[in-house]
Every structure is written in structure tokens, then in C-alpha cells.
């Protein structure tokens, strides 16, 4: 019965919407609250830095920073960390263009870096991000915030802040769309061979 319901919610292109624009906004607000609480941002802890992993992680990091500022009044420095040059699968994929890395002017030494990405899957992107961070400086600690955790980890990595856990099969694909880069905010599950 459950599988029938899921099948009913799937559109002809093989896509199922898991989070609507409203859900995405609420999820980001919730993660912002959790970051404030866990890092004690509003009680004078001023060493937190948000680093987005391009492309959508960067948009999410900026949205989180805006929410954190709205809820706590604290402006969190935000940057971008491109991990392409640190990937271990470069020879197994077509060439990908590089994105600029931009860190806050104060750098990341002795800060609490919160890495922000859209989907947590194998964990290899996060591993590459940790390597990239090491070349940029020595943070006091590193945390991870993701909008979606879809499972299938290949490395011992877990997120500190998860918007939504979505159990998936390997043949499925989770696509996060954000207004900054796509036409609208949503998260969809696609069957392999779909759009």
C-alpha cells in the first residue's frame, strides 16, 4: 500500500517532491536555530564561520547566515570553499569547472567552521572539504550542516545539523533546487534515467 502511495505521488518524469519551497525555508530556519544553540552564538561566541561548498552549499550558507542574524542579531562571517581540486574521483568524471574559494578576511585559524552543503551522500565531498580546509588554516573545530542526508556513506562521516533524513536507494538521485541557481526552492527525488 505504501509503495502504491509513493508511486501515486511520482510525476510522469519520475520525480517526487520531497520538500516544497515552504519546507526548505522552515528547514533552513530550524538549522539556523540549532547552530545558534549548539555554538552558543548569542552568548558571545564570536568565532563561528560558515563555509558553503559550491554551488548550492554557498547559497545555503548565505541563507543560514541571514537567518542567524535575524534570530540572534549576530553577523556570522560566510565564505565559499571549492573542493574540486581535492576530489578523489576526478579521473572518473568529466572535467568540472572550478569555483572560486573565498574565505572571511580573518581566515579560519582557531575558528569554529560550519561546512554547509546541500546533500550528504557518500561523504567524499566532505572528506575533500576537510583536506581543502587543512590547506587554508587550522580551525578550532569543524562541524557539518546539510539540507538533506540521503545515506549510503562510504566514509565515517556524519553531519551535526541535518535538515531532513531521506532514505534512498542507490538508483535514485536527490536534487536540491534553490532559487539562487535554479528556478525555485524544492527538493525532489528522481529515479535514475529520469530528468
Amino acid at each position: 500500500m505504501a509503495s502504491r502511495q509513493a508511486a501515486d505521488a511520482t510525476d510522469p518524469a519520475g520525480q517526487r517532491e520531497l520538500l516544497s519551497a515552504g519546507d526548505v525555508a522552515r528547514t533552513i530556519a530550524r538549522i539556523a536555530h540549532q547552530i545558534i544553540e549548539k555554538t552558543a552564538l548569542d552568548t558571545g561566541n564570536s568565532d563561528v564561520v560558515l563555509l558553503g561548498i559550491p554551488t548550492r552549499g554557498t547559497s545555503l550558507a548565505h541563507r543560514l547566515a541571514a537567518k542567524i542574524s535575524e534570530f540572534s542579531g549576530v553577523t556570522v562571517p560566510t565564505g565559499t570553499l571549492d573542493i574540486t581540486l581535492y576530489r578523489d574521483d576526478l579521473r572518473h568524471r568529466p572535467n568540472r569547472p572550478l569555483e572560486p574559494t573565498s574565505l572571511p578576511a580573518r581566515g579560519i585559524d582557531n575558528t569554529l567552521v560550519v561546512l554547509v552543503d546541500d546533500v550528504l551522500f557518500s561523504g567524499r565531498t566532505v572528506r575533500a572539504a576537510l583536506d581543502a580546509l587543512r590547506d587554508q588554516g587550522r580551525p578550532r573545530a569543524v562541524q557539518l550542516a546539510v539540507l538533506v542526508d540521503r545515506g549510503h556513506r562510504e566514509l565515517p562521516i556524519r553531519a551535526d545539523y541535518v535538515g531532513k533524513n531521506i532514505p534512498t536507494s542507490r538508483s535514485e538521485d536527490v536534487a536540491v533546487r534553490l532559487a539562487e541557481t535554479d528556478d525555485a526552492d524544492c527538493v525532489v527525488l528522481r529515479r535514475e534515467g529520469g530528468e
Binding site: 571549492d82 581540486l85 581535492y86 568524471r93 568529466p94 572535467n95 569547472p97 572550478l98 572560486p100
Partner: protein
């Protein structure tokens, strides 16, 4: 992109992507104490140089090392080439020994193409680091990168290439690339140093420098390649310098924003006056540092992508 042999093979999208990658790599490494990326770990890059070179070889070596590739330098004088081994056998030896990429500098035009033909089957990639009087694509890319930094977009810009066009691989590569990127190119040289067919390159050919100067956004001086000259191409170095040397008076005739480039090595006092070479309008050392980032970008595009199965 399988090999980088000629700028003629680069379309706008590929050329722009290489320049953008070089720019991002430059920003990525800016101010870093440790300039090392793990991107090409485990890949082997061989520089095979049959001609002397300082900046190109060092620049490729630094580029490879900054991306963690294993870089091996082979020069003709210190290898079996000295015993009479052919280019083909030397190249096949390097491929058999595990080279993923061979960067070749050779006095014969077309040698990089021949090498690519021989190494294609082995899956070894080839970068042309200057073949005779034919092409030097990474030099053209680093010139374009420097011009983009100084002038912004190149479309619609007017750029002169001045001097020994006949023996210059830099000129050919630059004409193709600058035109691909939308710039207007004017070639200025004495008639004896204009190669046959240059009028078909898509650039204007002129023999007088002074009337061109006020219209230019950039001027690229070339080295007079005495080592390739067998015969008299101009009466004397002094006369060449008077007609085509970029001196301070000529620098004054250029628009304020115009940039001076030289691929090096410079013959100071002949093609370019020392005061011009050292002026803030000259981008000569900037060209060298951009050379490293451009070559990193080329290695990234050739070696980091999906594995090519022969």
C-alpha cells in the same frame, strides 16, 4: 581536450574555460604559504626539451608540482637523444615508463603533432611547449590571461604583434587565440620578417609601427630570433631598433591604458628599451607568473578529467 597542440584547436568556450580556470587557480593560491594541491597526485608528467628554455620548462615544472604530479625533466643533451635516439623511440620509452603526459619543446615545426600521433594509442597526452616556428599555445594562453587581467574582456580590443614574425611561434599562436577571443590583431614587421601567407591568418599586416601605436590597447613585442636567422633580414640591429624598437617616445604614443607585453627572453635596447621593459605599463613579470597558473589549468583540463581509454 585530448592534447594541447595548437591554439587553432581551441574554440571560444574551451579557451575561456582554460583562462577562467587559470584565474580561479591564481585566486585559490593567492597568499597561501603552502602552494600545493592534491589534484594530480599519482600522475606523471615529463618535460621533454630539445631546446634550451628557462621560463617555459620551469613554469611547467612548478605547475605540475603545485598540483602534486610527479614531474620528470628530460633534456635532449642529457638523455639518449645525445646517442642518436629518435624522437619516436624516446617518446615511446617515456610512455612505456608510465608518463601520463609529455610536454615537448622541439626545434622542428610539427613535432608535437607527430608525437601526439605516436602516443595516442598509449593514452599519453601531449602538450606543445613550442615546436620550431609553428606554435606555442600555452604562451598565447598566458598572454591572453595577462591581457584579460589588465584590460578586461578582449573582444573588440586592438592588439599589435611586433617584430620577428617569421621565426615566431608565439605570434602564430597568439593570432589564432586573440582572434578566437574576439580581438583585432595587427602584425607589424619589416617585409623580410613577415612569413609567406601571413595575410591569410586573419590579421592585418603593416610595416610601419608609429601610425599603429595610438590605436592600440596592447602591444606585444617579439624577440628577434638570431639563432634561427640564416642570412640578412635587416641591415643592422641598430636600424631594426630605430624602426621597430619600443622606446620611451613610442610608449608615449600609446593610449594611457595600453599594455606592453614581451614573451621573453628580452633583448633590452634592441626590441625594447630598458625603461619601457621596467615601466608599470609593461606586464612582463606578470606574464611569467600567469604562466604557472595557465599551465596548471592546462594540466587540470588534460589530466584531471575522465580517464581516456585508447
Amino acid at each position: 581536450m585530448r592534447h594541447l597542440l595548437s591554439t587553432e584547436d581551441l574554440d571560444v568556450a574551451t579557451a575561456t574555460s582554460l583562462l577562467d580556470t587559470a584565474d580561479t587557480l591564481k585566486q585559490t593560491l593567492l597568499g597561501r604559504e603552502v602552494k600545493k594541491l592534491p589534484t594530480l597526485r599519482g600522475r606523471t608528467v615529463v618535460t621533454l626539451f630539445y631546446e634550451n628554455s628557462t621560463r617555459t620548462r620551469v613554469s611547467f615544472e612548478v605547475a605540475g608540482k603545485w598540483m602534486s604530479a610527479d614531474v620528470i625533466n628530460v633534456s635532449a643533451s642529457s638523455s639518449s637523444v645525445g646517442k642518436g635516439e629518435s624522437l619516436r623511440d624516446t617518446a615511446l620509452t617515456l610512455a612505456a615508463a608510465g608518463a601520463d603526459c609529455v610536454i615537448i619543446r622541439h626545434p622542428a615545426s610539427g613535432s608535437a603533432h607527430r608525437l601526439a600521433g605516436w602516443l595516442d594509442e598509449a593514452g599519453t597526452q601531449v602538450i606543445n611547449a613550442g615546436d620550431g616556428m609553428h606554435e606555442h599555445p600555452t604562451q598565447a594562453l598566458l598572454d591572453a590571461a595577462t591581457l584579460r587581467e589588465r584590460l578586461g574582456e578582449l573582444a573588440g580590443r586592438r592588439i599589435a604583434i611586433v617584430g620577428d614574425l617569421l621565426h615566431s611561434r608565439v605570434a602564430r599562436s597568439n593570432v589564432h587565440l586573440l582572434r578566437t577571443l574576439g580581438a583585432e590583431v595587427v602584425l607589424v614587421a619589416p617585409p623580410t620578417l613577415v612569413p609567406a601567407g601571413a595575410q591569410h591568418w586573419g590579421a592585418e599586416v603593416r610595416h610601419e609601427l608609429d601610425p599603429e601605436l595610438p590605436k592600440l590597447d596592447a602591444v606585444m613585442m617579439l624577440r628577434v630570433q638570431a639563432e634561427r636567422m640564416h642570412g640578412g633580414f635587416f641591415p643592422s640591429a641598430r636600424e631594426y631598433s630605430i624602426a621597430y624598437g619600443l622606446n620611451e617616445a613610442r610608449l608615449g604614443m600609446l593610449p594611457e591604458h595600453a599594455v606592453v607585453l614581451h614573451p621573453g627572453p628580452m633583448l633590452r635596447g634592441m626590441e625594447i628599451a630598458p625603461a619601457v621593459a621596467d615601466s608599470p605599463r609593461a606586464a612582463i613579470t606578470q606574464q611569467v607568473s600567469n604562466g604557472v597558473h595557465v599551465r596548471m589549468a592546462v594540466l587540470y583540463h588534460l589530466l584531471a578529467g575522465e580517464e581516456i581509454t585508447a
